[in-house]
Symmetry: C2
Subunit: 160 residues, 2 copies
């Protein structure tokens, strides 16, 4: 089980965007995090399609959050980048082989699929209760209030 690398970038970008009042170009976000600009752009497009960020074209364009950081959960971001389908996908192998269970008896998922689904629900539950604002706050606490202040200052400074 491996989570796309872009999830980390997207989360960091959302936290960064939450600290800026003006749109931030993808290239600037990439520079801030030291990651490939072109590839990050692809993930930001995905966030845009998911309705988490809004893109503005033109000279002073860029990305901004569509709603407040309190209203965006970590799960929203993860689902947007990684997709919504569950990690465990039951292939219904109980319906195969010499002891195949007839399809009409399979009204509910098999016990193994139920167990895996319960685990994923617990995982999603934790992430759904964490917001971008929570993450920003935690980062701020870790750095004694310095990190976000520096971040806001850097974002407000002239691009070059």
């Amino acid at each position: 089980m491996k989570l796309s690398n872009g999830v980390e970038w997207a989360l960091h970008c959302c936290v960064s965007l939450s600290q800026s009042r003006t749109p931030v170009p993808a290239a600037r976000l990439a520079e801030l995090h030291g990651i490939p600009p072109a590839y990050l752009a692809k993930h930001l497009q995905t966030l845009s399609r998911a309705g988490i960020v809004h893109s503005t074209a033109g000279q002073v364009g860029g990305y901004r959050l569509t709603r407040s950081a309190e209203a965006i959960s970590a799960l929203d971001v993860v689902r947007a980048i990684d997709g919504t389908e569950p990690a465990y996908r039951c292939a219904e192998i109980r319906q195969r082989g010499p002891l195949a269970v007839p399809a009409e008896q399979c009204t509910r998922p098999c016990a193994i699929a139920r167990a895996m689904a319960a685990a994923e629900d617990a995982w999603a539950g934790v992430l759904s209760r964490i917001t971008i604002a929570d993450l920003a706050s935690a980062i701020d606490t870790d750095s004694d209030g310095a990190a976000l202040a520096d971040l806001r200052r850097w974002l407000a400074a002239a691009p070059r």
Copy 2:
């Protein structure tokens, strides 16, 4: 995020093995579940290396569980097949770019990594509390006690 297909096979195989007193060859487990024998063998080898099943060579050889079904959790099987490293791996991008945090300040994981780790802990916690015996019991209940009885009968029958 995608979980290896072999996880499903491994869980079903463990449940099946819990119903047999004698070793079951990989080919027979594959026939039972209608899946490619050679590929299943690969996963069973992995389970063997993880110490979950024990292999016996020779004419009446095969695989058997190393301990009781109550003592094997679903997490044990998932970790054996899928690996132990977490789905989310922090690349420490906070230490990169113009606002890089000095390494000596990074005594604990960054807030985002902590959040993702908490979610994975919840996921693992659910799976660790589910045993192979629980799964077998649930399957039995679903089928009104028919499935496991049929399974034991089929496993005890002559191979061909």
